[in-house]
């Protein structure tokens, strides 16, 4: 077979505020690959099916000298994020054509990999769409499940407040909190997301853009567990509305990602109310919870016991726009880029 297109999306420049599609990231469809003959050197050829667009990717768009928990993107190189792909050819023992792999993918249509570093096989016995393995059955789902298990110390009858409850992390947190018998207050940035949050069980769901978070928490609080994906003023309101001994699970602070950070003014409440606040990176919880997660969550997603939503964007040329939508919150659900069919 003749060489085929091997399009990719490249990190082109460090943004100062919101990322700019076409400037921060550039779609490049000039490369080709000879799928049948490209040398594998003992490795394997992977065809990318889906890649995930997540809030934390903004933090990787930085100058390389700045340290953080995830590595910076390399200028001129393809972006990387979680993905699912299928093995086309292999010289690596134990890896066979047709195997599906989940893990860190470069934003390329095809890539040659030396080994399984950062990847794991998925068998998909419940026949979920592959996209779900980068969403509710992937990193965002693990984020919700593992940190809720590790840090919430949830007790029946308590009250939880979940931010970005329309997203893949928050929506699973809402459902886990309901399964544990909590009253759940949930916020998101659109009326459509509010409806979705109600449909999955949130007792109180509101659009923070049109309803005062402070008013809702004053009426529906105090809160015992706070799931923070946003930081900034919302975190400040949660600190004021916290119960004594509240647990704050610090998953992310997107309100500051494109603005250089939002100051927090009510942190004294951590002292006054004996609050415990735990930040985490899901990768550090995986060794403890990965087996339990895969043994339970995909089945519940397939049966409908746990619900999810997703928004599929078509092709790597959409990566830049999709990243911006996630940073601005204009997406409607978990964003996945579909790169190819099987």
């Amino acid at each position: 077979m003749a060489p085929v297109r091997n399009a990719r999306t490249v990190f082109n420049s460090v943004p100062t505020g919101y990322p700019e599609p076409g400037k921060t990231t550039v779609y490049d469809d000039t490369k080709t690959i000879d799928v049948d003959n490209v040398p594998l050197n003992g490795g394997f050829l992977l065809k990318t099916l889906v890649v995930s667009i997540d809030p934390y990717l903004r933090g990787r768009m930085r100058e390389p000298h700045i340290k953080s928990y995830s590595p910076p993107f390399a200028l001129g190189e393809p972006l990387t994020s979680h993905g699912v792909g299928v093995v086309v050819r292999s010289e690596l023992p134990g890896v066979n054509p047709g195997d599906h792999l989940y893990g860190f993918f470069t934003h390329e249509e095809y890539s040659v990999r030396n080994n399984l570093s950062g990847l794991m096989k998925i068998t998909n016995e419940h026949n979920l769409p592959w996209s779900v393995y980068v969403g509710a059955a992937g990193m965002p789902g693990k984020t919700a499940y593992m940190a809720w298990k590790e840090y919430s110390r949830a007790k029946k009858g308590e009250t939880a407040f979940v931010t970005t409850g329309g997203g893949p992390v928050g929506s699973l947190v809402i459902q886990l909190a309901k399964l544990d018998g909590l009253k759940v207050i949930a916020s998101a940035g659109s009326d459509e997301k509010v409806e979705f949050m109600k449909s999955i069980g949130a007792d109180v769901a509101f659009n923070y853009k049109t309803t005062s978070t402070a008013d809702v928490l004053a009426k529906e609080g105090p809160i015992d567990v706070y799931w923070d994906n946003v930081g900034g003023e919302t975190l400040d309101q949660a600190l004021l509305a916290a119960n004594e001994g509240a647990r704050f699970i610090e998953c992310g602070m997107i309100s500051g990602y494109n603005t250089g950070g939002q100051p927090i003014r009510n942190l004294i409440m951590v002292v006054a109310k004996s609050i415990s606040m735990n930040g985490f990176i899901v990768a550090r919880l995986q060794p403890k919870y990965d087996a339990e997660f895969y043994a339970t969550i995909p089945a519940k997603l397939a049966s409908g016991e746990l619900k999810y939503t997703e928004e599929i964007w078509d092709g790597l040329e959409k990566v830049g726009d999709a990243i911006l939508a996630v940073q601005k919150g204009t997406n409607k659900a978990k964003v996945v880029i579909k790169v190819a069919d099987e």
Copy 2:
């Protein structure tokens, strides 16, 4: 015996910034008490020996409608704080003249109490000065001991950063951290306190008013345990200098007590570095650790194994100035008001 003076220090007005002696608090020596004949109504007469001046008292000087972890002072009524006193007369079974009691005292020379609520007997078998029972062997000592035990998860070879290391809480934390085999960085606001911190074992001690906290932490960090008594910019620097998995013990944030609070800008590091941050009020830890504390700490203080300093101010007329000194940090050591000899 004729009635004697029963001086007191009264909360007179809510301060906006730093408390003002003579305005915020007023010394009143017009009251008298007939020690021999004052009716006890089944209670007992307590003579105040010492009362404690602590940073948290600023938080009690507030409008009564504002909720916080400790009750507001009542306008026109005596201040209250930890103290030690001796029973003069008693009608309460189990309470006898000569008994020494520790707990919450009104700022009066004498008071009639109905019961032992908020008080406990101390036997002082190690012959410590009574003032120590409101310092290293009292609430500040418990604060250091109990929270270090509960939250530090200290491991030999790690690094701790302790703020207000010249005070009664910080200085005990420094010594507990050294006993656990940690490298200790400690800060305070005067060169005299720096010398004291070195004398009790701090590996690195500095005056934050003349030396850059950021520079010290960049050179001597990263830090695994942060003992926070100050909040504000120092907390922001500690967040930047924290190691992955660091534990932040949030004891107080005095930098904001007289200014309406200091914003925190680097809280995203809680997420990025998987930091756990625990606020606490010592009263909530006491049921778990009180027996252990009294069984070990007073003996070590008496033997000199653990060191402490204190600064004795004479008479309730000094309460206003003493509170201001503690808020401004111009005191040299733990401040205790000596109200009377035995």
